[in-house]
Amino acid sequence: MPIIINLDRLLVDKKITLSELAEKVGITLPNLSILKTNKAKAIRFSTLEALCKALDCQPGDLLEYIKE
């Protein structure tokens, strides 16, 4: 998919681990892994909102479009 999720870069920037984020956002670790490894087919607005809140960022920081 040309849309990629920059979750790993944001995690490094904010110095937070995946399991810590999972706890903070309230999503299960397997679901967050799906997101991190770009296997996800869709993302709910509520999840995006919670992620932006936890990581203190904009949706644009999380998502990126790459031309194929």
């Binding site: 999503i27 679901n31 967050l32 799906i34 997101l35 296997k39 996800a40 087919k41 869709a42 993302i43 709910r44 999840t47």
Partner: protein, 190 residues
């Protein structure tokens, strides 16, 4: 009582089907061995001037029969059961596989679609095969058995209900496949 999961109707049914699978397989080998042996024998097996023909609704019981042709052809009747046992065993096996996924509470797997499609194909093949087998049985009986006063004829008739079930099941498998795609989409939405 629970419908799916452990200690549910699905589990009991699965166990029952596994027993049925064994019984059908044993019957298959018995009819295969008996049929093959009977073909090599000069006379006929189990014919004592008496024959009963069962149709849905009416059973015809003929006694004091005489034969107009070699009764050796009647031995083919023992072999005629072999394909139906094979198809039954195949369908039972696939059904018990599907039930096993119900016991595990994970019915939305690709293997189930394959199983349903296999059952559908077996039903369609069975309807064609049974048509031919029943026709051959009819031909043998009408050409060998003499029934004074009663005219026996044979006809070619397709087992419509089996054919219909097979086609319907194949369509249901496609519906199930669409469901699986939706389920996958749902699983990969975070």
């Amino acid at each position: 009582m629970k419908l799916i999961g452990t200690k549910s109707i699905a589990e009991h049914l699965s166990k029952l089907l596994k027993i049925a699978y064994g019984v059908v397989l044993v019957s298959f080998f018995i009819s295969l061995v008996l049929g093959t042996i009977s073909l090599w024998r000069s006379g006929s097996l189990g014919l004592d001037n008496h024959i009963s023909i069962k149709t849905p609704g009416i059973n015809f019981d003929f006694s004091n029969l005489s034969y107009k042709a070699n009764t050796k052809y009647m031995n083919f009747l023992f072999l005629s059961a072999v394909p139906s046992y094979l198809i039954s065993a195949f369908i039972i096996k696939e059904l018990s596989r599907i039930l096993d996924t119900l016991v595990k509470e994970e019915p939305f797997v690709y293997a189930n679609i394959v199983s349903i499609k296999k059952i559908a194909k077996a039903l369609i093949l069975g309807s064609i095969l049974y048509t031919i087998i029943h026709f051959i049985i009819g031909l043998i009986i009408t050409s060998v058995v003499q029934t004074p006063g009663v005219k026996l004829t044979t006809n070619l008739s397709i087992d419509g209900s089996m054919l219909f079930m097979g086609i319907l099941l194949y369509l249901l498998a496609e519906v199930f496949k669409l469901g699986l795609i939706i389920k996958e989409e749902q699983d990969l939405t975070v």
